[in-house]
């Protein structure tokens, strides 16, 4: 019943195929590429969690990186400074991120669009300042390195599989959430909040719940970062990272389900490969952004959607679009 609808989607088969290939990838690729893929997975989860707010809720979550950082710092500090079991530390990360999402969301949700985003940058920067300044606890600018990771996921391959499986579970959950009445209503609020209020929906409360869910997944991504890198540092909470993941959503297709994964893969690849030749790799990013605005305002995967919007679409097409992007 729960999965029946999903299993009928064509895109579901493709997803399983990709997942299968990724499962055997460590046997075929050099270690660096395994690590590289794991970084893409973590970033993709982060961008996907942001897109719950941006693409599906039209909430301008400008400082989503903070929740990534809160998740990473919570798990990292608990692992490095306490004797708490690893699984408890891993669970604390997303919960702390969701709590931060609730607290910041409570203030921001009173404002609309850009003002929402501006206030979030301000409040998020406060959390960054704490991580940056509180040397005794966070190590300040240096951060904390060599965080003890449990043996079974300490190797490159071990962490790769762990991240892949968690990513798979999170994507499945996000998909189900977006297809649920909650997700459907969130998308309706995105299109027309005034109309939603007029049909009896408590718009602000619904948006706040979406923020909590999105920040929870952002926190999961933060924990995965700690597993892959074994370190935490204040840049995780800095606003430039938030901007980067925002661009990933726009680039991949923010009105689509899987678009942010593509956006994350492109930007992480640029940073990794072009970044080794020149530190000005963001120049290329800038050019891509300009092209994007002119030619693909709804992102790479959003292109299909525009075609769909022009012509009449059957429900199947709409459904498969929503599923695959």
């Amino acid at each position: 019943m729960l999965f029946g609808h999903m299993l009928r989607q064509k895109s579901f088969g493709i997803s399983i195929l990709i997942f299968g290939i990724l499962l055997i990838a460590p046997a075929l690729l050099p270690r660096f590429y395994i690590y590289f893929l794991a970084v893409i997975f973590v970033t993709a989860l982060l961008a996907m969690s942001l897109n719950l707010c941006v693409g599906h809720g039209m909430l301008f979550q400008f400082h989503h990186g903070v929740f990534y950082g809160v998740g990473a710092y919570t798990a990292g500090l608990l692992l490095a400074k306490t004797s708490m079991p690893w699984w408890l530390a891993f669970m604390a990360g997303p919960l702390a991120a969701a709590l931060a999402g609730l607290l910041i969301g409570l203030f921001c949700i009173r404002l609309n669009r850009l003002y929402f985003g501006m206030l979030q940058i301000s409040l998020g920067s406060l959390i960054w300042a704490i991580a940056f300044r509180w040397y005794a606890l966070t190590g300040g600018d240096d951060g904390i390195h060599g965080i003890p990771i449990p043996d079974f996921i300490a190797s490159t391959t071990g962490s790769y599989y762990f991240v892949l499986i968690v990513l798979g579970i999170c994507l499945l959950l996000m998909y189900l959430i977006l297809k649920s009445p909650f997700g459907s209503t969130l998308q309706a609020i995105r299109d027309n909040p005034e109309r939603c209020a007029a049909v009896g929906i408590h718009v602000r409360r619904h948006q706040l719940k979406a923020i909590i869910i999105a920040t929870f997944f952002g926190g999961v991504a933060g924990v995965l970062f700690v597993i892959v890198e074994g370190s935490i540092f204040p840049d995780l909470l800095f606003w430039t990272l938030s901007l980067e993941i925002f661009i990933m959503c726009l680039l991949g297709g923010w009105f689509t389900f899987a678009g942010p994964i593509l956006g994350a893969a492109i930007i992480v690849s640029l940073r990794t490969f072009v970044g080794t030749y020149t530190q000005y790799w963001t120049l290329i990013l800038g050019v891509i952004l300009i092209l994007l605005i002119f030619f693909l305002p709804e992102g790479i995967m959003g292109y299909n959607y525009r075609q769909l919007f022009r012509s009449r679409a059957s429900e199947d097409q709409v459904e498969s679009f929503n599923a695959s992007g």
């Binding site: 729960l2 009445p181 909650f182 459907s184 299109d191 209020a197 009896g200 459904e319």
Partner: protein, 244 residues
Amino acid sequence: MLQVEDLHKSFDDFKAVDGVHLSVEKGQLVAVIGPNGAGKTTLFNLICGQLQPESGKILFNDDEIGRLPPFEICRKGIARSFQIANIFQRLSVFRNVQVSVLSQQRLSNKLFHPAAQLAVNETNHILESVGLLDKNADVAGSLSHGDKRILEIAIALGNEPELLILDEPTAGMSPDETATTMALIQRLAEKQGLTILFCEHDMEVVFGVAQSIMVMQQGRTIVQGDPQAVRENTEVQQAYLGDE
């Protein structure tokens, strides 16, 4: 069912609603008429909570609703349509109506259950009753203007309202579309026993269908009564119909 008493609302110095009285009885089809700028839309926005009145009372089933937010007013049983087609552009026609049905059934917060399987019959039933069932898979933004306005009414019906408020349901429609829409409104009132309050600036459209008419001018209520009484009222004749 709905009583509006001496309602006032101004924007800066402009008095948009300045002493409005309105009464809607259960089962009635009531029209508000007045020239453009008479304050009809402002009145509806006040009743539905999009705006807050400065003074006066709005009673719905004897409850004061004048300062409630829109979603609470909706939950009390008042659904509305807007003058400018106010739909969910990116969603399919089916999902447009389903959103309000899910809200009515208090299912909007349900997680992890496919929305596609919920409230399907109720939603299709509404689409059938307004004649949009064959277009249920279309993206709402791709509909014709007339169909968007009908969809607008269908979304409001999803709330199973006691009172349905329609803001110029035929604005921008061709004469044919206007006739179809008015026939639909009459059918909803008669067959489903809905209480409907609507506004219109085209007098001919109104006199044919409304059981009670309230005439507004410059934010004030001139008179409310049955069509005959309104037609014979000298103040209305002077103010609105001209000296025919």
